[in-house]
């Protein structure tokens, strides 16, 4: 095992999909990488998504490039993390008169972007999904899928660790020591030992999502971000086999994702001042119940058990933008000062791997490497005996206990194990850094 007391090539800030995949990508390119996450892996935006692995259909009309990328990336995710993906398929349903006005435009968008689809007879759709509204007017089937975010994030963290990255949870960046226009040292609050630590790296990747503006400002850089909260309500019953989308231009309350034994109804857009201070909004909850029950009337009857939020960033930044924008919703910034920091903001969970690939290309270029990304075909490690055998005997024993397909609660236990794995590799990373004995 290498020693990690010295300087890293890259320090990644943020343990969401982009930060983790950047850590894995850069490690596979041969860089010595540390990832710093202020809370738990996936505790920011990525672990609070709705579980929707986009086929691209949702973007086919308004953003064809994003649609094509979603189509490619969702296929990649299902191939590299098959243990975390449920191939449910999806329906777009017209349930009100105005919805049908969008049908022709939607079908054209799907044809133009090459997203497989099928016009389904409403009667057939009702046989397949009996909880759908009886007011069905038109139905289009698309290859949407459901993804278990924590399982994917845990798998990426595990893979990155096995490949040599060090992944630290509860390690909050609180400042930077800057000298000669570059970050010389990162100040980190170790929430476990309640002490202040320092990390040194040639290059810093700021992948902290809606918090990227705060992190950048600590280094004297400017990324102005407007956090917007999207609310989701959890219905304690799985009301459909497929993901149900409302057939209309993307709006609030138009998706219902079957997630294990629940249904997730989302989402909304509410401007918030501070991503750490989001309060429930009764009007939004009522809107989600109303819109969701237009597609699946049982939603109103059953009601919801809880509400949760995911924070997305709206962007505006000064300075030069680096790299290609894979979609309109993410940006990579190569800061003028500090010179050795790259920030990335935005993106979707579905395209997180691709965003990280672009970030890693920028980092490689900055560090003088021409090695290409390997994550596209890299099968992520799982919470399995085999993948955990070389890391730690306790983890291996846990995997044997918890991820046992003969157990009633196999799926839930296995998902929980990914959290345990992330916590465990964080502890091991702390040891490697000499933060604990």
């Amino acid at each position: 095992m290498a020693t990690y007391g010295g300087r890293f090539d890259v320090a990644v800030i943020g343990g969401g999909i982009v930060g983790l995949y950047s850590a894995l990508d850069l490690t596979l390119r041969g860089f010595k990488v540390v990832l710093l996450e202020r809370g738990a892996i996936g505790s920011g935006t990525s672990g609070r998504m709705h579980g929707f692995l986009h086929s691209g259909a949702r973007y086919a009309v308004r953003d064809p490039n994003a649609a094509i990328e979603c189509a490619l990336e969702s296929k990649i995710v299902s191939e590299v993390a098959p243990h975390a993906v449920e191939n449910t398929g999806g329906y777009f349903v017209a349930v009100e008169r105005g919805d049908e006005d969008y049908l022709d435009e939607f079908l054209k968008g799907l044809r133009d972007t090459g997203i497989p689809h099928r016009l389904v007879d409403p009667g057939e759709a009702l046989e397949e999904e009996p909880n759908l509204s009886r007011s069905l007017r038109a139905v289009v089937e698309v290859p949407d899928m459901v993804v278990r975010a924590i399982d994917v994030l845990g798998s990426i963290a595990l893979s990155a660790y096995i490949e040599g990255a060090r992944i630290l949870e509860n390690a909050e960046v609180v400042g930077f020591k800057i000298a000669g226009g570059s970050i010389e040292e990162i100040s980190v609050r170790d929430k476990i030992s309640r002490s202040l630590r320092s990390v040194r790296a040639e290059l810093v990747v700021n992948a902290s999502g809606p918090w990227a503006g705060k992190v950048a400002s600590m280094a004297g850089a400017d990324i102005e971000i407007m956090p917007t909260a999207g609310s989701m309500i959890v219905i304690p019953a799985r009301l459909s086999r497929r993901i149900i989308n409302r057939l209309r231009p993307p709006s609030d309350g138009d998706i219902v994702v079957p997630y294990a034994g629940s249904s997730i109804v989302g989402t909304t857009a509410r401007v918030v001042e501070d991503p750490d201070q989001v309060e429930p909004d009764e009007e939004e909850i009522e809107l989600l119940l109303e819109e969701g029950s237009k597609m699946l009337p049982m939603i109103r009857r059953i009601g919801y058990t809880r509400v949760y939020y995911s924070i997305r960033p709206l962007l505006r930044a000064e300075g030069e933008m680096a790299g290609r924008e894979a979609t309109r919703d993410f940006k990579i910034y190569r800061h003028g000062e500090p010179r050795n920091m790259i920030s990335v903001v935005g993106g979707k969970f579905t395209t997180g791997r691709l965003v990280a690939e672009k970030v890693s290309d920028e980092v490689s270029k900055a560090l003088g490497s021409s090695k290409a990304s390997r994550t596209r075909g890299y099968r992520l490690r799982q919470a399995s005996e085999e993948d955990l055998a070389d890391i730690d005997p306790q983890l291996k024993a846990l995997a044997m206990d918890m991820c046992d397909k003969r157990l009633l609660d196999y799926e839930r236990l296995c998902s929980a194990l990914y959290r345990v794995i992330a916590h465990h590799i964080s502890l091991m990373s702390r040891k490697d850094l000499g933060w604990i004995l």
Binding site: R58, E224, M226, P249, D252, A269, R270, V271, L314, L315
Partner: protein
Amino acid sequence: MRRISGEILSQHRSEDLLGLLKTPSRFARCIPGVISYENLDDKSIRVRARLDISDAGIPEMSSITSTLTITLASIEGNMARYRISGRAAGSSYEADLTIRIEPLDNGSMVTWQADISLGKLLEILDRFVGVEEIAKRIASLAVKGVEKCLKT
């Protein structure tokens, strides 16, 4: 407080347009994006509408739902004044809308002016997405909706 304004040519007669503006519920029925409305009294309605925010760059969302109250404050001669208050994206807004209709040989000229007051969060949002542009687009769509309504 900010003022935005615009003018749009209508092929309809000024008295037809003014007739529509006298009754908020008739007016509301014509505005694209209105999901539902309820009459509060003969001059006020509460409307739930979907506002087009596709320029905001939120890929998951090209429109958001807003609840607003529209009150006819006055209608005199060729001019109607409305008071609008509502909430969108978690923040409040208010507007005083004045619509003036001038008869032309082959229709009418609709001139509108809105004094808008945005809540704190929408003011911040405005730096990112151009709330003024969104308001102008909504106004233009509303007049087109009225045109379509009068045709049928």
